[in-house]
């Protein structure tokens, strides 16, 4: 697999996962940007474990996920049912603090970045194929888990919370527990992405894990549509892929383009491109064709 | 009490064939009412009959999908609330209607948002009607009793130099003694020349005070007439007065 195609596909997969990590807590109206901080924490500590302690990739991956879940779980005690803006600012502060810590620790390479994260196969080509397989296996597994959740009784309860927290509480939905569960899951996905990203790039820079990246993941979620998990599968390839076809001078304006698209979609179609009625229509269409054939 | 038993020749307010919906729910269907200058008119009807919607539509809160409203000969069908207040309609909303974290004086001055320069004179008038508000003017409105709040809401409506006052459920939740006071004040205001549209669920007192009345059911005007006649109507007696 050529390097450029590998980077494109690998980062697209990670973007899908990260958009899902924002999708889950947004089911209860929370913008849990902390997942980007989870990416930093798990990515750096995972890379450190691989570099200095010689941990194998599988162990690092598990460490990253568990670390993400742990951090998410602990903070969710405080912000599991907090108002959306409080969750936002906790995420931002976390990102800022982890970035400062990384920049000031020589063990993590400081502002220069962390290099030389080991290959997980003997050849560079093998490394790429395995990483590609692991990333898309993760997309399938996480996607399937989210689908199971969305179609469960709990998933329907989150829709009630999205519309009206207090009303949902009167139906006997535990708003705080739900928020805690979703934040923990989202942070675990963030941790997973951190390790995947570290081993894809085989180097880490503190500059990557900032508000820039939040903007990218958030744009993908809202343009794809935040009411179903399927929207990001459409928006990530388009938003992440199309700029590569544009001239270099336009590409550098990627963030401005994302920002404008985000404003436009909120103005004309606030639920995003892929909505629940659309999914239902596609479902019946596919069903009809199956019966016809 | 005025003597007019039929619809006035030159109404200060004329609502003609008004229909208003919230989404799919139709709150008013082809409703028509008129109010003559110097009249007290009462709207009767159960909860959800459309009384509040009619009043809010007259003020310019809801956009009707058909029908027209004219005030003093001018069409105001799609004129927003703040302009209608400026030209002489004011509303005393049901229940709330006051800002409890602001002082009594601030609440009154809010009513005079459009004509602040004449507020000292108008304040004097309001304090003349409601002496208790003068004593409490620096107090937070949230500390007032239920009757005082209703007086404050009426006082605030008077601040904007209205010619027509819409009063939504003036007696709701008040003790009988205070209800009597409020209705006495409404009659006095009318005697000073203010045209008044009242809405009431419990109709006896309202019909006694008013010239004419309309009965609303599920958004339609089902009956209208002089208040004295309505008081004698057996259906009205059973539905709204008796009990």
């Amino acid at each position: 697999m050529p390097l450029s195609i590998f980077y494109f596909l690998a980062v697209a997969g990670i973007n899908i996962l990260m958009s899902w990590s924002l999708y889950l807590p947004y089911r209860v109206q929370q913008l849990h940007f902390m997942t980007v901080a989870n990416m930093t924490i798990s990515g750096y500590i995972g890379a450190y474990a691989a570099l200095n302690w010689g941990w194998p990739f599988a162990a690092v991956l598990l460490l990253g996920v568990l670390l993400g879940a742990l951090v998410g779980f602990v903070t969710s005690f405080a912000i599991g049912d907090a108002p959306a803006f409080a969750v936002v600012i906790v995420g931002f502060t976390f990102i800022y603090i982890t970035k400062t810590i990384v920049e000031n620790m020589d063990a993590f390479g400081g502002t220069m970045g962390l290099f030389g994260i080991p290959k997980i196969a003997a050849t560079p080509g093998g490394h790429r194929w395995i990483m590609f397989a692991v990333i898309y296996a993760s997309v399938i597994v996480v996607g399937a888990l989210i689908h199971r959740f969305d179609t469960s009784r709990l998933g329907r309860a989150t829709s009630a919370i999205f519309v009206d927290k207090n009303l949902a509480a009167t139906f006997g939905v535990d708003v705080k527990k739900m928020g805690m569960g979703l934040q923990t899951a989202a942070s675990a996905i963030g941790g997973l992405c951190g390790v995947l990203y570290a081993f894809t790039m085989r180097s880490l820079f503190p500059e990557f894990f900032t508000f820039h990246y939040i903007g990218i993941a958030m744009t993908m979620l809202f343009i794809g549509g935040y009411t179903t998990q399927w929207g990001v599968l459409l928006s990530v390839p388009i938003l992440w892929g199309l700029p590569f076809l544009l001239p270099e001078s336009v590409q550098s304006w990627r963030i401005v383009i994302y920002g404008v698209l985000l404003v436009v979609i909120l103005l004309i179609k606030p639920e995003g491109i892929v909505t629940r009625p659309l999914i239902r229509r596609v479902g019946t269409l596919l069903g009809a064709r199956k019966r016809a054939s | 009490m005025g003597a007019s038993n039929t619809a006035p020749d030159r109404p200060i307010l004329a609502v003609d064939g008004l229909s208003v919906s919230y989404g799919h729910v139709q709150a008013l269907r082809n409703a028509s009412i008129t109010i003559g200058s110097g009249e007290i008119v009462v709207l009767l009807g159960a909860n959800g009959a459309g009384k509040t919607t009619l009043m809010e539509s007259i003020l310019g809160i809801h956009t009707p999908h058909s029908g027209s409203i004219s005030f003093d000969g001018t069409d105001i069908t799609r004129v927003p609330a703040d302009r209608n207040v400026r030209s002489g309609i004011s509303l005393v909303p049901e229940g709330r209607g006051i800002f409890s974290s602001m002082t009594v004086l601030d609440n009154l001055l809010l009513g005079a948002h459009h004509n602040l320069q004449e507020s000292p004179a108008r304040l004097d008038r309001v304090f003349h009607w409601f002496p208790v508000l003068r004593e409490r003017q620096q107090q937070m409105a949230g500390t007032l009793s239920g009757g005082e709040r209703r007086m404050l809401a009426i006082g605030r409506a008077l601040m904007s130099r209205p010619r027509l006052i819409l009063i939504d459920e003036p007696s709701i939740g008040l003790a009988p003694k205070i209800v009597n006071d409020i209705f006495a004040i409404i009659a006095d205001l009318n005697a000073e020349g203010y045209a008044i549209l009242l809405s009431e669920q419990n109709a006896y007192k309202a019909l006694k005070t008013s010239n004419r009345g309309y009965v609303l059911e599920t958004g339609r005007v089902v009956l209208e007439g002089a208040s004295a006649e309505l008081l004698d109507d057996p259906g009205i007696k059973a539905a709204y007065v008796g009990a």
Partner: protein
């Protein structure tokens, strides 16, 4: 002790900037009913406009100040219909949607600044604007022109704002809408015009803040707005969203805290300490110390 006094003075002038920003943020929250997270980014954008104006007019301070203030007002008023449209689209007022729109606006502003102005490098304001000239000194205590100016303007502007809020009919209308927008409409308050006025007024506050920041810092960078935006949102959450007096107290406290940390702890860690304190307080009290007024 001298370090303490010196840093206390620094903290007061920095804090007065936070207070101005938090006050503008809260005004929009209460009257226009939006979370304008990127408001500080709009302010930094105005600093850049003012910098450009200074360059084209051979450092005319009057033009620089006017450009900063006018651009902040214009930008805020131009953004108003975007926010209003998003709120109307979702039927009822959806304050989260306004926050996402604001984040998107912030992304755009920051990226434009890092492309178009000075090739993305930090800009430096000319000598005659910078306020680092010392007015008087005593031992380690140096009081600069910028510090005195920002503290003075901060006090005057915040007092003027509270006067407007509690002594004028516009302030009365602001407070009425903040307490109960539906009822304010029934009373005859022009909701749209009053809302627009709050955008313009926050623009004015923002423009003044942009001028003060230029004088106090003497420079600006594309990322400045983001960093300040996070602190302003954190301050207003800790104070209790929409709580104007709370914002005053917490804004000053943050300024003093940051200055103290810088005075007594050296190194790149000092900036993170303020964030750690903010984080701890928010985690402990996600609904604010003084209570939300929303």
């Amino acid at each position: 002790m001298e370090v303490f006094i010196a840093q206390f003075m620094n903290g007061l002038s920095l804090g007065s900037i936070y207070v101005l920003l938090v006050t503008g943020f809260n005004l929009l929250l209460l009257v226009a009913m939006i979370i304008h997270f990127s408001y500080p980014q709009v302010v930094v954008f105005s600093m850049y406009i003012s910098w450009v104006a200074l360059r084209f007019t051979n450092n005319s301070i009057v033009v620089g100040v006017v450009a900063g203030i006018v651009s902040a007002i214009a930008l805020n008023v131009v953004l108003a219909p975007l926010f209003q449209q998003v709120m109307r689209k979702r039927g009822h007022v959806d304050i989260n949607a306004t926050m996402v729109i604001s984040l998107a606006i912030g992304m755009i502003i920051t990226d434009i600044l890092s492309h178009e102005f000075n090739s993305g490098f930090p800009i430096a304001f000319p000598e005659n604007v910078r306020g680092d000239e010392e007015l008087f000194g005593f031992g380690l205590i140096h009081i600069s022109r910028g510090q005195v100016l920002s503290l003075l303007v901060g006090v005057v502007v915040v007092s003027a704002f509270f006067w407007l809020l509690y002594r004028t009919k516009y302030g009365r209308a602001f407070r009425a809408i903040a307490e109960d927008p539906d009822n304010a409409r029934l009373v005859g308050i022009p909701i749209f015009q009053t809302g627009l006025l709050s955008y313009a007024l926050t623009g004015l506050l923002g423009g003044l803040t942009a001028v003060l920041l230029s004088v106090l810092l003497g420079s600006a960078s594309p990322g400045l707005g983001e960093a300040v935006a996070h602190k302003v949102l954190a301050v207003s959450i800790i104070a209790g969203l929409g709580n104007l007096v709370g914002g005053l107290v917490i804004g000053l406290a943050l300024g003093i805290l940051e200055a103290m940390v810088q005075g007594f702890i050296t190194g790149t860690w000092s900036n993170a300490i303020a964030f750690v304190v903010l984080l701890v307080v928010i985690l402990a009290r996600p609904r604010g110390v003084f209570g939300m007024k929303l």
